[in-house]
């Protein structure tokens, strides 16, 4: 037998349910643009029924829970694809910077300072005694060295900048790991009480999105046991290279350490776990992009990163200096007379035009146990015109004999060296630089293509996710109208019961 006021109670249940639904709709509409927000749906059943004679009468709706619409499987796909996007985005951006450093095609890059230098050689060959011509050769030679120095220095600076980025990204990972561990704890506590932690879970998923772009991780909620109330006891875990970054409410920290030094002696960071000496090697994400570009030598299937381009430039500086000075090419064979074989206006011979760090020709030759090892000291960063030539233009050896000031045979021999396609495996000095630039262009074309593909893929997954989880204003509006009407109907019922009670209580009692 139902209570007298059962009608009111049922109506009240109706009001509550419609109200909850309206609140939820309201919240959905308000959060339509909140990043990471998953729309929520009121999960209501009809409440328990009571028997009235031999029929069962319903007691109206009961709100069981408010659930968020989210597909874990899509999230996992997103987290698996996002690291590739991070990696190629980083690579493409850094390669773009390297292209900027080489500044080609332009009128200021290596190619054009080399052309100027060659022109100055030609000009000197037509007037070997001219001081203005000699000064021009010194000036263009210096410009060529400085362009190489400058390009290499900028590459080294960029390498250091990437190194600092790695450090920043490690801090970011630690901070995200920290936040996720805290959220795990809050979610756990909240859900123990039977409440829903929708917003906290949204926040956590958003953080994992962020994390997955920085470094490749695996994230999942693992069942670790059963709670006293019979629900599954779960732990949210994030693993990185097989170690826990986050395990429930605890998180492990990463730290950078000086793993290596760059060619200029600057420390280069590696990443390891704070509580052990286990090294972390990023398999994907922005960090992998950073490591590949900072350390890639291009050898043994390594990526062609900054060390590769620096080595190419060093190789160029060394080989070109040796060919120019000695007439000896990369293969160690002397092909013709170089600068050191010729004679200056003052009868001097054995002068090296190119040295490093502004050394004098003699100090330079003494810097190694033999000629080859002296040239091994030359890099793109330190190549310079020798101090002998810088201090005395007469030392430029245009002549093939002492005392013949109008003799231009040696400078002509040097011009032939500069145009000789045997200097490098890739051809002449010009060809070599062009092939480096072609490699760089091709690499960046590839990286940009990969980045665009990955961006499309991730975008596609994001659409699928949005299709499930994001708020549709139209849908919410139609829901709003629906819930408003159920609310109004329930309120109307209360009106009806009120009249009934007035009759039963006031009239009958009177």
């Amino acid at each position: 037998m139902a209570s007298t006021f059962a009608g009111l109670a049922i109506s009240a249940n109706g009001l509550y349910a419609s109200q909850s639904a309206l609140y939820t709709t309201n919240s959905n509409i308000s959060n339509a643009d909140t990043p990471g927000y998953s729309r929520q749906v009121v999960n209501q059943t009809n409440g328990y029924a009571f028997s009235q004679g031999n029929v069962m009468i319903g007691t109206g709706p009961e709100v069981v829970s408010v659930d968020r619409m989210r597909d874990e499987y899509i999230d996992k796909k997103y987290w698996a694809e996002n690291p590739s996007l991070g990696e190629w985005e980083t690579k493409s951006n850094i390669l773009l910077e390297i292209e900027g450093i080489f500044a080609e095609p332009s009128t200021s890059g290596i190619n054009s300072v080399m052309s100027d230098f060659y022109s100055a050689l030609e000009v000197l060959s037509t007037n070997p005694t001219g001081m203005a011509e000699r000064a021009l050769l010194l000036q263009t030679g210096t410009a060529m060295c400085e362009t190489l120095n400058d390009t290499a220095q900028k590459l080294v600076d960029l390498q250091q900048q990437i190194n600092n980025d790695i450090n920043m990204k490690v801090n970011e990972i630690n901070s995200i790991g920290d936040q996720i561990a805290k959220l795990n704890e809050q979610i756990y506590e909240l859900e123990l009480t039977g409440a829903n932690a929708n917003e906290l879970r949204d926040e956590r998923d958003l953080l994992v999105d962020e994390l997955s772009k920085i470094i490749e991780i695996q994230a999942e909620e693992v069942k670790v046991g059963t709670l006293p109330n019979g629900q599954a006891d779960t732990k949210f875990q994030i693993t990185l290279n097989g170690h826990y970054l986050v395990n429930g409410s605890s998180s492990n920290k990463l730290e950078t350490y000086n793993a290596d030094t760059s060619s200029t002696g600057q420390p280069l960071y590696g990443i390891k776990w704070e509580d052990s000496d286990i090294v972390v090697d990023p398999k994907g994400g922005e960090l992998k992009g950073c490591f590949d570009l900072r350390d890639g030598t291009g050898e043994n299937s390594e990526y062609k990163g900054i060390p590769y381009y620096l080595e190419e430039l060093d190789e160029f500086a060394r080989t070109f200096a040796m060919a120019f000075n000695e007439g000896v090419y990369g293969d160690g064979v002397k092909y013709s007379e170089g600068h050191a074989d010729g004679y200056g206006l003052d009868g001097s011979t054995g002068t090296r035009f190119f040295t490093y760090d502004n050394m004098s020709s003699d100090d330079f030759m003494a810097s190694g146990s033999d000629m080859e090892s002296a040239y091994d000291n030359i890099t793109a960063l330190n190549i310079s015109v020798s101090s002998d030539v810088e201090n005395d233009l007469n030392k430029i050896a245009a002549s093939s004999k002492s005392g013949e000031e109008g003799n231009n045979e040696n400078i002509k021999s040097i011009i032939d060296i500069c145009n000789d396609t045997k200097m490098f495996n890739q051809g002449s000095a010009d060809d070599y630089i062009n092939s480096v630039l072609t490699t760089l262009g091709t690499e960046n074309q590839h990286a940009t293509g990969k980045m665009n593909n990955e961006a499309n893929l991730v975008q596609q997954i994001e659409y699928t996710r949005l299709s499930v989880s994001s708020v549709s204003i139209d849908e919410e509006m139609s829901n709003m109208v629906r819930y408003q009407q159920t609310y109004e109907a329930a309120a109307k019922m209360i009106d009806v019961w009120k009249e009934i009670y007035e009759v039963t209580i006031n009239e009958i009692g009177g």
């Binding site: 037509t126 003799n407 002509k412 960046n444």
Partner: protein, 350 residues
């Protein structure tokens, strides 16, 4: 599949962005006039573009070299002109001098003019181009020819050596004086090292030209040379009847004496003129080779600048068209976006 508002707006943004990126690319192309801004835009095109630049810079330099070479050769040509005139005038004077009816003073007048003509030859031999002596081989900074006074008469020095130590000497000089002078100065004769000093200019990737003619090639370096002939004429005008030369094909060298005859010297002058003409023909051939090369270089310059432009310059009309269409696509995407984003059911519920 549910379609939600964020999907719509993300999609709109994504597409607008794509269109904007493309439009930006076209804008940059339009502004710079170049298809490539960086190697990754088109690596092959970049490599080609750099190669063309190098070629063009080289061609420009070769053109300058060729211009310079021609300048040098023109000075040489003027000098040869001058020498021909001097030989011609000398021949006239020699013919005059060999006629019987001349007084002593006439001889003197002729002798003075001959001496002046010889001085003119020395002057021509010291011609310079842009501050460099053209006939001195590699010795471009030192005066090639000078006359010095020796115990055995005036002698011509070329690059600090005796141009012709073997004579001719006047018949009135004693043999042992000549031999003493000869052996004292044996180290001051032109060696092979002093000769064949070709100054080569590059006027193409694989073409070069030697721009200079050396003094001894024109003037000769023995008693048969121009200066030798002049000395003989001067001796004859001074009344000498014999001249002496040193024969060094035997050891020790001996002095040989020959008759001095003005009429015979006319033949020597003709020989000397032929030598000059031969040098001139050779020079003319070289000059036309350089001019031919200049034409080839300017053709190449046109070809390569054309190729470079084709390789890296944008077709303005084409880009303008593409830009206009990209702009309208962009505007269309904006318009579509604004229509999609704005209305929702919220607009229609009152």
């Amino acid at each position: 599949m549910r379609v939600t508002n964020s999907m719509l707006s993300q999609n709109v943004i994504w597409n607008i962005n794509k269109n904007l990126t493309y439009m930006n690319e076209l804008n940059i192309q339009m502004a710079t006039g170049k298809k490539i801004q960086k190697p990754s835009d088109d690596p092959v095109c970049t490599a080609k573009s750099l190669e063309y630049r190098t070629y063009i810079s080289q061609i420009e330099q070769y053109e300058k070299n060729a211009e310079d070479a021609l300048g040098w050769m023109k000075v040489t040509e003027q000098a040869l002109d001058g020498i021909e005139d001097v030989i011609g005038r000398t021949r006239e004077l020699t013919v005059q001098a060999s006629s019987e009816s001349l007084s002593e003073s006439d001889y003197e007048v002729i002798a003075i003019e001959i001496e002046q003509l010889e001085a003119q030859l020395i002057e021509i031999g010291n011609y310079s181009y842009a501050g460099r002596y053209v006939f001195g081989g590699y010795g471009t900074n030192t005066l090639p020819f000078e006359v010095i006074d020796t115990p055995v008469g005036d002698e011509i020095m070329y690059k600090d050596s005796y141009l012709s130590l073997g004579g001719p000497y006047a018949g009135s000089v004693e043999d042992d004086e000549i031999l003493a002078f000869y052996s004292a100065n044996e180290d001051k004769i032109l060696t092979e090292d002093d000769k064949n000093q070709d100054i080569m200019y590059n006027i193409g990737r694989s073409s070069e030209v030697d721009v200079n003619v050396e003094g001894y090639e024109i003037f000769g370096d023995d008693e048969k040379g121009i200066f030798g002939t002049f000395q003989k004429i001067e001796m004859a005008l001074a009344g000498e009847t014999e001249y002496k030369v040193v024969n060094d094909s035997v050891s020790p060298p001996v002095v040989e004496t020959y008759e001095l005859e003005l009429t015979e010297l006319l033949e020597d002058l003709d020989e000397n003129l032929n030598q000059v003409l031969a040098v001139r023909a050779d020079l003319g051939a070289k000059m036309s080779y350089v001019e031919l090369t200049q034409n080839r270089l300017s053709d190449e310059y046109v070809t390569y600048t054309g190729l470079m432009s084709m390789n890296e310059d944008v077709d303005m009309a084409e880009v303008a068209m593409e830009l206009a269409s990209a702009q309208s696509v962009y505007e269309a995407s904006l318009a579509a976006g604004s229509k999609i984003i704005l209305p929702s059911l919220a607009d229609f519920i009152t």
